[in-house]
């Protein structure tokens, strides 16, 4: 009897193992199944003929062997360092005549923000495709091979976190110390950014080009010389909304509803800094603990007599809040949105409820910039159905800036990347979302847009040119007022 039981359990086990292998390879299956379609896409494209596509396609056939080599050598090196002490960079050095440059990209590939991680990686890959790379597959973790800058091959390593700083640092350490990443693109969220700043500071020869981490203090206070941000921070993204609400919309008293952590503090802080300086008041600041899904009890706290409600949330939270606010109040009091609450990445899911919402932010769909339209078309070509949003645009701009700087220095990362970092700090170009130039803290000064959701897209109300890290206020005074928090600024 017992033997029979044991035998059965082994059979079940074998069956389970089979299921496991199937399930685990599911992602791979998808990717391999979809790869042909990704491959055929560029082939069809030349008829429609953009230069880059043609280039990609040609490289596709020509550089297959070298791509294969690069992959093999990277496998060797990771195996080497895993099993014994072999320095990974040494291995790679002997295998290739020219030592490749490794770019590591990190975003949130697990957990609640996994979708945003996908968007980010689209941006990174697009930039590398422009430099002659080819997609390995359609899955998020499939990299780009064959890209070259100034004759130096570029390798892409992709790592994911779950939006917690500890995991982000471990993932980055893996890229830098094991895979030999010279440049790190990312991370996605604010607190991850602060943690990575501390880590990357200890590795001055490695360069961190921020993805979408919007924490002010990534660059504003105590900056690290090898950390660059080619986009805005949470406060900059919200620039202009407070003024617009007071002057154009005539609001005098508002309430705010926001998630209870630093990124929304920055958004609410930026709005109130402007709004209160003009004489407006805030009736209530409602902070919703992270992880809340049911906003009904928070909606109930909004006073009846305010002129507008500013809400700052991301992803799921924004969808839940807008839906429930609509159901519970019929939008009796107008909403003003934070930048990511109505980002293009969630607009679809918000549906008609988002129509007419006013916000400020870095990406609009009707800027008319040739660079933007080209980017949108290119994105849709390579990743069909995708439209520009803050994540794919920012990761693209970051990667592209790094590649341009690399090109300028001829792929020279000697002397602790000194020349490269200097060139990176001097980058000044017109991105898909407008011109960018860096300040002394290597923080971008960029255009923002006041925008209104119109027909499911972000339409420009006004372009706010060259917003800086202190929102145009006096630098010392702005820094002296301290980081935004639950009750800073005090607002009267």
């Amino acid at each position: 009897m017992r033997n029979l039981g044991a035998g059965r359990s082994w059979r079940i086990l074998a069956a389970l193992a089979a299921v496991v292998v199937l399930a685990a390879s599911c992602g791979d299956d998808d990717s391999t199944a979809d790869t042909p379609s990704a491959g055929t896409e560029p082939v069809e494209a030349p008829a429609g003929a953009t230069d880059t596509d043609g280039g990609t396609d040609a490289d596709d056939s020509m550089e297959e062997p070298s791509a294969g080599d690069a992959e093999a050598s990277s496998d060797d090196s990771s195996d080497g360092s895993a099993s014994d002490e072999g320095g990974s960079s040494d291995d790679a050095g002997t295998a290739e005549a020219i030592e490749p440059i490794t770019i590591g990209a990190i975003s949130t590939l697990d957990g609640p923000f996994a979708a945003l991680g996908d968007f980010s990686m689209h941006g990174v890959k697009l930039a590398l495709l422009e430099y002659g790379g080819t997609l390995d597959g359609d899955a998020t973790r499939d990299t780009v091979t064959g890209a070259e800058v100034a004759g130096v091959p570029i390798e892409l390593v992709i790592e994911g976190s779950d939006a917690t700083p500890d995991v982000a640092v471990e993932a980055t350490r893996r890229m830098v110390e094991q895979d030999g990443a010279n440049i790190v693109i990312g991370p996605l969220s604010g607190d991850e950014g602060l943690a990575l700043k501390d880590y990357i500071r200890e590795h001055p020869d490695v360069t961190l080009v921020n993805g979408t981490s919007a924490s002010q203090d990534l660059t504003l206070r105590d900056p690290s010389p090898n950390v660059f941000r080619f986009g805005g921070d949470g406060a900059m993204w919200t620039f202009g909304v407070g003024t617009y609400a007071y002057e154009e919309l005539g609001h005098r008293r508002i309430a705010t509803v926001a998630e209870d952590y630093s990124y929304p503090y920055d958004q609410v802080g930026a709005v109130l800094t402007e709004f209160c300086a003009l004489g407006g008041t805030v009736a209530e600041r409602i902070w919703v603990p992270l992880g809340t899904q049911d906003y009904s009890s928070f909606v109930a706290q909004i006073p009846d007599d305010v002129d507008a409600v500013f809400f700052a949330m991301g992803g799921t939270d924004a969808i839940n809040f807008v839906k429930q606010y609509d159901e519970f109040t019929g939008q009796a009091i107008p909403l003003i949105a934070g930048p990511t609450a109505v980002d293009q990445s969630v607009l679809n899911e918000l549906g008609s409820r988002a129509e007419g919402l006013i916000s400020s932010g870095p990406v609009v769909d009707d800027s008319g910039l040739a660079e933007f339209d080209a980017f949108a078309e290119y994105l849709d070509d390579v990743f069909p159905g995708q439209t520009p949003n803050i994540f794919n645009v920012y990761y693209y701009v970051a990667t592209r800036s790094a590649l341009q700087a690399l090109e300028e220095v001829g792929g020279d990362l000697s002397d602790g990347s000194a020349a490269f970092q200097a060139a990176l700090a001097q980058q000044s170009w017109t991105t898909p979302i407008g011109p960018v130039v860096l300040d002394d803290n290597r923080q971008a000064v960029v255009d923002m847009y006041l925008r209104r959701v119109t027909d499911g897209a972000q339409a420009t109300i006004e372009t706010l040119p060259l917003v800086n890290a202190t929102l145009g206020f006096d630098r010392d005074a702005y820094i002296a007022q301290g980081s935004f928090s639950r009750d800073n600024p005090s607002c009267g």
């Binding site: 059965r8 957990g111 609640p112 969808i319 159901e327």
Partner: protein, 307 residues
Amino acid sequence: MAGVALGGYIVERSLEIGDRSLLVLLNGLTAAGLYFLMASGFTLVFGLVRVTNLAHGGLYLLGGYTALSLQRMTGNWFIAAGLGAVATAGLSTVLYLVLRRVHGDGLPETMLTLGAAIVMADQALANWGGVPSDLDPPAALRGSIDLPGSILLYPKFRLSVVAMAMLAGLCLWLLLYRTRLGSTIRASVDDRDMVSILGIRVELVFCTVFALAGALAGLAGAAGGTYLSLAQGEDNRILLASLIVVIAGGLGSIGGAAVAAVVIGLVEAFAQTHHAIFSVLITFGTLIAILVLRPHGIFGSQQDERA
């Protein structure tokens, strides 16, 4: 004494916000409805096989996502939710077939369900992506009704979640106390060995209960996916909430789950309204307080005391 003071405080704070207290009450009941749908199946399974099914949240998520896909295909909420529930009932049965391979004391089974939960969450991500989304309520239940005395409205679908939970509770009660299967289930809860000696196929009873629990979780997923939304991490959140309810009510007790769902739902709504920042702490504090006072939950039996 402390109870009176607490009651006084609650009344005082509720009067402060006047008419909105009705909203808080309704919010609490809606949450209670969803929690009960989850907790009733969870607690039934525990009562029968002593397994803390940590994959219950995964069933919720998969049920919701399946219903979402089906709604997009058929356009009908009820068909989608029904078939989603059937799908999770099947999945839950498969889970049982794996679980019965380890006859332990609860720990290995629980660990297996934990592994299953991780796999389910990841497969949900693989198949439906990480972009949050939600189901549309059925046409008849769209829109909101006016609440007296304030500018606030109340969505019809939320009210129907309460109704759905009460209906499910009634059906469960009828099943358990008015049918032969029900008496077999209850007998199995009390003495599994004796029931199997009587020649009843206990395995089949267990299978049925797992399927039932899976269906309830799937239904909860469709309901939650409609008035809240479906996203990565929802499985853990709802699992945690239903765990609180099940434990506060007393593992294995459906009546306890109902009472605890209402208590926890109301505490949560009250705390979120009056102490937003510390609301989660208050909810968990309530659970801890209940368990310190009654280690086996409100309706828990001492039989579960360590042997």
